[in-house]
Subunit: 350 residues, 4 copies
Amino acid sequence: MASSLDDYEQLASLLLPAGVRDFVAGGSGSETTLRRNRSALDAVTVTPRVLTGVSSPDPSTRLLGTPAAMPVAVAPMAYQQLVHPDGELALARAAAHAGIPYVISTLSSRPLEKIAAEATTWFQLYWLRDRSMVESLIDRAEQAGCAALMVTVDVPVMGRRLRDVRNSFQLPAEVVAANLVGARTEAHVGVAGASAVATHTASAFEPSLSWNDLEWIRRRCRLPLVVKGILDPRDARCAAEAGAEAVVVSNHGGRQLDGAPASIDALAAVVEVANCEVLLDSGVRSGTDVLRALALGASGVLIGRPLLWAMAVDAAAEALGLLTAELTQAMMLAGCATVADVAELTTGRA
Amino acid sequence: MASSLDDYEQLASLLLPAGVRDFVAGGSGSETTLRRNRSALDAVTVTPRVLTGVSSPDPSTRLLGTPAAMPVAVAPMAYQQLVHPDGELALARAAAHAGIPYVISTLSSRPLEKIAAEATTWFQLYWLRDRSMVESLIDRAEQAGCAALMVTVDVPVMGRRLRDVRNSFQLPAEVVAANLVGARTEAHVGVAGASAVATHTASAFEPSLSWNDLEWIRRRCRLPLVVKGILDPRDARCAAEAGAEAVVVSNHGGRQLDGAPASIDALAAVVEVANCEVLLDSGVRSGTDVLRALALGASGVLIGRPLLWAMAVDAAAEALGLLTAELTQAMMLAGCATVADVAELTTGRA
Amino acid sequence: MASSLDDYEQLASLLLPAGVRDFVAGGSGSETTLRRNRSALDAVTVTPRVLTGVSSPDPSTRLLGTPAAMPVAVAPMAYQQLVHPDGELALARAAAHAGIPYVISTLSSRPLEKIAAEATTWFQLYWLRDRSMVESLIDRAEQAGCAALMVTVDVPVMGRRLRDVRNSFQLPAEVVAANLVGARTEAHVGVAGASAVATHTASAFEPSLSWNDLEWIRRRCRLPLVVKGILDPRDARCAAEAGAEAVVVSNHGGRQLDGAPASIDALAAVVEVANCEVLLDSGVRSGTDVLRALALGASGVLIGRPLLWAMAVDAAAEALGLLTAELTQAMMLAGCATVADVAELTTGRA
Amino acid sequence: MASSLDDYEQLASLLLPAGVRDFVAGGSGSETTLRRNRSALDAVTVTPRVLTGVSSPDPSTRLLGTPAAMPVAVAPMAYQQLVHPDGELALARAAAHAGIPYVISTLSSRPLEKIAAEATTWFQLYWLRDRSMVESLIDRAEQAGCAALMVTVDVPVMGRRLRDVRNSFQLPAEVVAANLVGARTEAHVGVAGASAVATHTASAFEPSLSWNDLEWIRRRCRLPLVVKGILDPRDARCAAEAGAEAVVVSNHGGRQLDGAPASIDALAAVVEVANCEVLLDSGVRSGTDVLRALALGASGVLIGRPLLWAMAVDAAAEALGLLTAELTQAMMLAGCATVADVAELTTGRA
Ligand SMILES: Cc1cc2nc3c(=O)[nH]c(=O)nc-3n(C[C@H](O)[C@H](O)[C@H](O)COP(=O)(O)O)c2cc1C
Ligand SMILES: Cc1cc2nc3c(=O)[nH]c(=O)nc-3n(C[C@H](O)[C@H](O)[C@H](O)COP(=O)(O)O)c2cc1C
Ligand SMILES: Cc1cc2nc3c(=O)[nH]c(=O)nc-3n(C[C@H](O)[C@H](O)[C@H](O)COP(=O)(O)O)c2cc1C
Ligand SMILES: Cc1cc2nc3c(=O)[nH]c(=O)nc-3n(C[C@H](O)[C@H](O)[C@H](O)COP(=O)(O)O)c2cc1C
């Protein structure tokens, strides 16, 4: 049994093929941003309050209008069957069990409808070159009952992830992009010295999106709209103007532009100007990290890799339970009865 | 023979069971705050003065009105019999020998009256769910001649200390909470993957205290009142308003909210607003550290773990003698005749 | 096949004699500045923009009026035959292939005319004691079709490079300063505990140059003039006043004054006051590094050692291709269509 | 042959007894200040100037009116016979050879008159409890032709140097305090767990000096007066008011108050207020370090340990030659013709 979310990485590493482990763990370039996500979070101090009369803190909240047992959603992550035979279904069930939203990736290895049946979900959209496919995905997500649409804007092309390049990483035959027509793709064709997943992305994704396209989506789709992958406050303002209900301050877990700031370091400036809800991801690993993000102004966080590691050892629900417990306890120790109280805490940098 | 307080940890580690060693040494979560306590103290520079005509500095002072041979008190620490058969008695004797106050923990493994007979003591109060027990403890402390009441406010629940969780740490049968009715408790019942001490705390402590409760104590108790576990200046002000004579700026030695600031980093802001005496603990390991805290505005410090390590090798008095010598020498080298002079030194961060 | 420019150092180290490897890799003194070049670049964050509608970024630009397929030129580096039998010809061909300028060192091991025939080149001038040789070099560069004259001003004497001193480094007989009369020099005569290359430089270079000399060159030479080796903004201003079209902010790859600032840290202040184009070198190793320099105001960079390592394994063209790909991708991920857009990105220090 | 001053420590460590090596190398307490002396110097950047027309920089200067071939004096260091049979004579000869002042320690192992015969010297005074001895030392120094009197004020007692404590360090019989009556002292009597040298100092030195005593010296002695061991700008002002011609910003090489700032970090504030010459020591190891100190406002530096290491391998003159070469070259690379030019360079912190 794990005693912290970090433990799952160790445990999963014993089981997973090295290529898969690296695909999940890796970042882009020299992984500067990947490492900085952690060092920046570690440097944030949160000053607890005392004697506030809290007996049992309530970590529940609403994220984008969706009720959530804690201010955490499962980050959209592609191809979850890589780490567990049940793929997305397993992790969605764990999210449902924990009472938090699960974000379905465009590149899920199970059909979005199947996943949406398991939990409160949001649908994450990658913009495909084929606009009719985009329309179809949005419609399917609405019909499947997804509660929000999350448009990921930081992947015009995939970041250069050297681990995958060195491993000539490709998807195993049984893991497919289940939502796409022609699910077997370049992602399954190994090329020495290249990432097949990146090759597929390059051919399938539309790289040249603009705010006009986002407005088009805004008109096209009734669901609350979240723009994922914002770091510059100017873009946060654009997102709100284009009609987004929320942005996710994110560097994609250090997987896109190496050299981008840690998302926790970018958060406060975005919160200051954004006229919308602000979520954060990239590097969150504990209840204390959630507290840090909330204290710096986020309304919630997405959490990615730790849940894949946990899932690999059949412990995703346990991991989310642990995170809930950690956050509840951190709130207790910080004297916060509610998620709103956390925003009143003083933060610093050590 | 040890030449610095840090040496005792090495020496004691050879003797103590691993579970006990970890219980004493450990912090909560990923131990960020535990480590930062040291790195932050190490970063504080104190600029010495010269030719001040000091021939033999006098480290003596008053802490909360109690005369003290140096501006140091022994921090309240539970279950001292874990490290020495005489438990609290041994460490209280060493404090008496060194001429400094000894703080008796609510969770002492010897009855508070026995300990109070050995030294000038203060009594540390954890708020138990059973308010009649709280009243009884306060009364007993007053009657036993304790010179102050220290209310610890940073343990609504115990921090998640992963070492204890991983060790499934429980108290040995012979070590009990001697001041409590029903001294044998959940703390003695091992549970795999959990800290029995934390379980006991959760069931015994009242988590939802407020400033009203502190005011109730203030009315109930004639002794000088100290609030231990303050990091936010707003809380220091509340404490003084509620009638406390002093606060202890403390993160509980990095054992409660992981991610809290180092207490030395929180000190100056508290000193600035507090209308009362300000003590500090968490990480103090040498005469230079005492000097750092005084130069930043504390009137004194509490010292914890090093004295348990020393006690484990029957050297608590020696350790306090060493600390006195170090502080006296540091004052000498800084050109300070008295404890008050130290507050005039310039500090910096390296 | 390498997946990042850093890989070439490992690969080349297997092939090159230790003395040559150290001559290339080393810096001066305790190599503080050498290390800082990297740590300072790593600390620069660049905040990407999103949804800018870029489909295929164009990294092409003009450097000093010379068209360049990306804002990168090959730094002038002496004696390239040390790492490859074709010497400068091989690297110039790679530059031509990549569509970027190649800077010919005064100390090239092939005659400048031969090199200039292979690529768009600039000529780097070291000031020799014999002024008629300087005149002749300038004339030869003009006649050979070099497109700019780069005067290196940070080598009045060679920095004390301890690796070369410890290796008693000397040039092998077949590697000569092909542009100089009497190409076989002190650089070929080993002296225990000394760098023969430094000895040669000391005897051949004129150490006491002044801005008057630069003005003399300005009058003497029709080509665009670049002053290489500027760190102080006051000197950047002098350079522009003396008629230079550009300066290179550079600490010579940490090989001259140990203790000098990282060039990336010196860049912004130079850009602010310089009335001319500003290039940068020293430590650039990736597309992200180029982005960092551009975002901080450089119009381009020079890149040195990585190309020698790549050349040693016959992969200089590959390396430049990789760099182009990295930069294009970094621009894409940062939402930049053109090199000019990069200057609008926000930078920070982590 | 060494290629940097640091090399001598390695070389000497092979020869010297461990106790002596530690006595020389060690600092006080946890050696925080000792380490910081280096890390702070390493962090200082100096921005070179170019094209200043310097052909051969002149490092010569005057220190306290004494002509010096470079802005460096040999720091006063006790008991030099510990590392070389000729003791102080050997190092004084090296200083004379290098053309720089040698500072004779009160605790020299050869009589001050013998040392003064070998070089331009200053005399360093420790205040002995026996004031008649102090008077006699001052008179002897004047008569022996010492050119300045340096009063060390940061040793009211010796810092607690744990290496010496752990080694129970004592002087070998043949090494004595040759200037003192009763040269064989407590310093020769080993006590387990104590430094015999510290014990001797405690009994011989007068701890309670004040500015009045300095004024007394000022009246008593015709030589230029230097106060060594200043870190607080307020003390620098006092020193000038008491009639000192100079102060040495120094933390005694990290051997006195552990936790004191690095002397290079304390320098600028002292320079700003001091109405006198300002020297610096503690951690200087290279020509670049000298440049750093001068650029931050010192008129010169003292250098300690590296010369003992060099002396131990009969290379003190070589070491000083190396330092002169390094400084001359650093000046050249920074574009400085004279020591005064160095003060115009821009400094920063990396
Ligand atoms: C294996 C993996 C796959 C991912 N797939 C997607 C995806 O399909 N869509 C998306 O928007 N983000 C994707 N991400 C990024 C995550 O949504 C999230 O931004 C990131 O993982 C957060 O950082 P963390 O893993 O440090 O918590 C993926 C991340 C990983 C690790
Ligand atoms: C083993 C142990 C037991 C402790 N028990 C108590 C306690 O019963 N009551 C309390 O207020 N603090 C307790 N503390 C916290 C200490 O009073 C003090 O805040 C902390 O140890 C100071 O940090 P230091 O150990 O780094 O000096 C305990 C600390 C340790 C290490
Ligand atoms: C082996 C070597 C030889 C060099 N020779 C010259 C030269 O002849 N002329 C010159 O101006 N700079 C010379 N330099 C400095 C480079 O032009 C450039 O400033 C430096 O290498 C940039 O740093 P980088 O290697 O970290 O990219 C040389 C550098 C190296 C590593
Ligand atoms: C072995 C040793 C002996 C010393 N003895 C004296 C002394 O007798 N008087 C004095 O003023 N300083 C003494 N010092 C301090 C030096 O003068 C000087 O402040 C210090 O060594 C400078 O730092 P550095 O060794 O890092 O260059 C001594 C230092 C050492 C290392």
